[in-house]
């Protein structure tokens, strides 16, 4: 229905892309060290280093390198990993589904925790129930992701042995099982952010006249809560959720490392340590694209939920 709007938004991604390209190219080359010395180690002679650099095109001036990079990109080619000798696009194709699975899984868990708890906290506002829910998530929010990941890993994974401590599995069921702890880690973090906002907007919506009008219509409490209250309260929360999917993907970098999951997050960490310029650049562009698409989807969902919202 909003075809022209969607097209316009997609076109807006192009300048963003250019900016990200310049930024990431600059940043990558600012990282101390270079791929060749990282790859070859200290014992490589200057001669070998020079030859390797020439082979990889790293001896050319930065501006020329940038031009080549952009040219490649225009041909739909992200280059080849220096360390793995695999095209970056293929690497992404292999690893991205894992990360997307993890992200969606985490988002689902996060929302599934946040919505009922926020409702409970809002209905029982200013009681001990509310206080406990808020306190728990406040603490959860202040704990770093890697710490929560390690705790869950140690307790539920290593000590109790309920869940595997790493890997991805072969099929959907195994994915769910293997990724449960990392998804829970990220989901808890997301839930902590959502609970607070959602609780407050539910409390605000509960005072709205239309809630009293719904009561005056003799509707059941559960109907009022879901149809009238939650739908309105979610409007504000969807935007927040969209903004945090970006953070969730960022969090995936850490969780994938801790839980040894073969996703793009791990790939990124490896690429940075290996100064694998093409991979870093390709992944960053991919992240930018995903985040842009998520924001677009958020706006579309927001417009769906709130009929008053004008897409512009």
């Amino acid at each position: 229905m909003h075809t022209s709007y969607v097209l316009r938004r997609l076109l807006q991604i192009i300048p963003l892309f250019l900016a990200v390209m310049v930024l990431v190219f600059t940043l990558v080359h600012l990282i101390p060290g270079d791929p060749v010395s990282t790859l070859l180690g200290d014992r490589a002679t200057p001669d070998i280093v020079a030859r390797a650099n020439k082979e990889l095109g790293l001896d050319k001036p930065l501006l020329v390198q940038f031009g080549l990079f952009v040219n490649q990109l225009l041909h739909g080619n992200l280059g080849e990993s220096i360390n793995l000798k695999i095209p970056v696009l293929r690497l992404i194709g292999e690893r991205l589904p894992v990360t997307l699975f993890l992200t969606v899984y985490a988002a689902v868990l996060g929302v599934a925790m946040a919505v009922p708890l926020a409702m409970l906290a809002a209905v029982r506002r200013n009681t001990w129930v509310d206080a406990v829910i808020r306190a728990v998530f406040q603490v959860g929010l202040s704990l770093p992701v890697f710490y929560v990941a390690l705790q869950l890993l140690t307790l539920l994974g290593a000590r109790l042995g309920w869940f595997p401590i790493g890997g991805y599995g072969e099929n959907f069921g195994e994915h769910l099982f293997h990724l449960f702890l990392p998804a829970l880690t990220l989901g808890l973090n997301l839930a902590a952010i959502l609970v607070r906002t959602l609780r407050n907007s539910i409390i605000e919506v509960l005072t709205a006249e239309y809630v009293d009008f719904a009561r005056a219509k003799g509707l059941r409490g559960s109907v009022i809560m879901t149809r009238h209250v939650l739908r309105n309260a979610l409007i504000a929360t969807v935007t927040l959720l969209g903004l945090n999917i970006g953070a969730l993907i960022g969090g995936a970098v850490i969780t994938e490392t801790v839980f040894a999951i073969p996703g793009v997050g791990r790939l990124m960490v490896d690429a940075i340590f290996g100064r694998d310029y093409p991979v870093i650049q390709g992944l960053t562009l991919m992240f930018a694209l995903i985040v842009s698409l998520v924001f677009l989807a958020t706006d579309l969902i927001h417009a769906r939920l709130d009929p008053r919202a004008e897409l512009s």
């Binding site: 006249e209 239309y210 009561r215 005056a216 219509k217 003799g218 149809r227 409007i235 009929p307």
Partner: protein
Amino acid sequence: MTAPLLKVRDLNVRIPTPGGVLHAVRGVNFDLMPGEMLGLVGESGSGKSVTLRSLIRLHRPPIQMTGTVEYGGKNLLDSSESKLRDVRGGRISMIFQEPMSALNPVLTVGEQIGENLREHKGLRGKAAQDRAAELLDLTGIPSPRARLADYPHQFSGGMRQRAMIAIALASEPQLLLADEPTTALDVTIQDQILRLLLRLREEMHMSVILVTHDLGVVAQTCDRVAVMYGGRLVETAGVNDLFHAPKHAYTLGLMRSLPGAGEHRRPLQPIPGGPPDLRSLPPGCPFAPRCEYVTDDCRVGEPPLLEVAPGRFSACVHYSELPALKSTPEEVGV
């Protein structure tokens, strides 16, 4: 004599506020007969809306409601939630003062009518759609079927008011509580809506409590009037009696502040002063500080609402000294 449909006794509503407890409704008593249209009038802040909401126990804690609202042999103020749900929106419907904020912005008008039909009439799907369109049509909304899919913000003010009426009437209630259904509207639309209410009352044999601060509206539509001041009823009377000879100084003041009412060609006289502070009322008649008939007797204790003539109740110490007016409801009605 037929039994009243609704019997309200010693209704009190107390609203805790940061500045102290606000006693918004203070011992209200009245009966409503089947098929009767009762006007509840009074200036802004006199407690009309708060009273109306408490009739179906709509206030939520920490707001406190006490007294009895007897309907169908039961006190609605201490009925269980599930019993109350049948009454609310089923046998007693309510139209809120502000249709813009009372309609849910994210549900279509059709969905909001449909909810009532499902809850109280057991209608779903196509049958509910058809009935919803019929109701919109009944309230005078053009091309009703197409408008079912609209959201409230796509309606004009007058149409939103009509949509609210359609929602309230969906269950074919015995009693309609209408809180200023016309105040926000221009005169032509106001007139149409009032006529609509009158017609529906005839067709559906409903009783109506019509809240308004416009005596003209009362004159045009109601059988009986209850005048509210400072959280209390200060006078109740048949419409004709009230307009001929008000028995409370406040009612007299209200009439004199009406264009076209009172002694002819008399300039408009707004009542001096403002409404009383319901958090700390002085002893005696709450209207005393603004009253031109005030004497020391008015300040000793709050005068109770007494029957001063057959069918007429007044809480005014000086009811017998008030001048009769030559106005008739027709003159007052716009």
